[in-house]
Symmetry: C2
Subunit: 179 residues, 2 copies
């Protein structure tokens, strides 16, 4: 299913901050909603990003099973904070072969392993959009209880310090809150 | 770039056969054109399939280099035959982890290695469409000179005999010709 992140005047999530991390940012807006893209076509908004929850691209069967055993889904009542981080990687990244990207992703940068350290507190969902002709390659979505915000910040710092992140050429951090 | 395969009354390629191999086929049509999808929105047709030439999903750096050294591009004047084969794989395939799919793709089914045997005679291009909400996961496009048609037929038989192909649940063969 194609999902739309629609920023504007209405939506379940209040946008508390929009921070450009690399490259151009996104316009400020009051609220954000996450909807089926087919419905979003008739909704007005300040900006809209679409993505698709697609198949696994790097995780091995063992890693996927480890993740499934620990992670929790989105929508937990206690998860009143969320962060949307749209990311675009460089042409150099996409020109790499599958084994080279996997090597940087996990064997060098320990992307899955770092994320595991913050489970189940930080729930995570990845939407792909590179093939949709969107300005970003991925929309990453994180959800957690307010008391886990500092743990989430630590997770972000660790991921941004990896070799994988040297291939990120655009990144925006959209902080969200719901009561 | 998003590419559209548009079947109808006009186009560079004459459609000489439409053969359902697995699952529902596609309607018969006289001709086919391959165009930028943005242009196709204003064109009428019997059917239309869209895909995107995306990044490498399985090949290693070594395999990709081996392919680049031998393969030739589309559009060679002698390549007066083409075959469009749209393919959809089963949910079981897409539920596999990356290492499991790679294992079946190459280590078990020798997909890249089989294709290498027919280079440079059979030029090949892969378009991804699973994430575009299309009825197929891939559009595979092959181009060759008329004298290499039997070699291409042998290539098809070998691929369809692989374990990878047990995951194919829809496949249509569209044979094309140009003067």
């Amino acid at each position: 299913m194609r999902t739309a992140m629609l920023a504007g005047g209405t939506g379940e999530w209040e946008i508390t901050a929009v921070r450009p991390v690399a490259g151009p940012g996104l316009d400020a807006a009051a609220r954000l909603r996450v909807v089926d893209a087919a419905l979003a076509d008739h909704m007005a908004g300040a900006w809209r990003l679409d993505g698709i929850a697609s198949n696994i691209r790097y995780a091995t069967a063992r890693e996927a099973a480890d993740l499934r055993a620990v992670q929790e889904g989105l929508g937990r009542p206690a998860a009143r904070r969320a962060v949307l981080i749209p990311i675009a990687k460089s042409p150099q990244w996409w020109a790499l072969a599958q084994d080279e990207r996997r090597h940087i992703f996990e064997e060098t940068s320990h992307h899955t392993a770092i994320g595991m350290d913050y489970l189940p507190a930080v729930a995570r969902k990845l939407y792909h959009c590179r093939d949709l002709g969107q300005p970003f390659d991925f929309l990453t979505w994180f959800e957690f209880a307010p008391e886990h915000e500092s743990a989430f910040d630590a997770l972000l710092l660790r991921l941004r310090a990896t070799r994988e992140w040297t291939y990120v050429e655009r990144e925006v951090e959209v902080r969200l809150s719901r009561p």
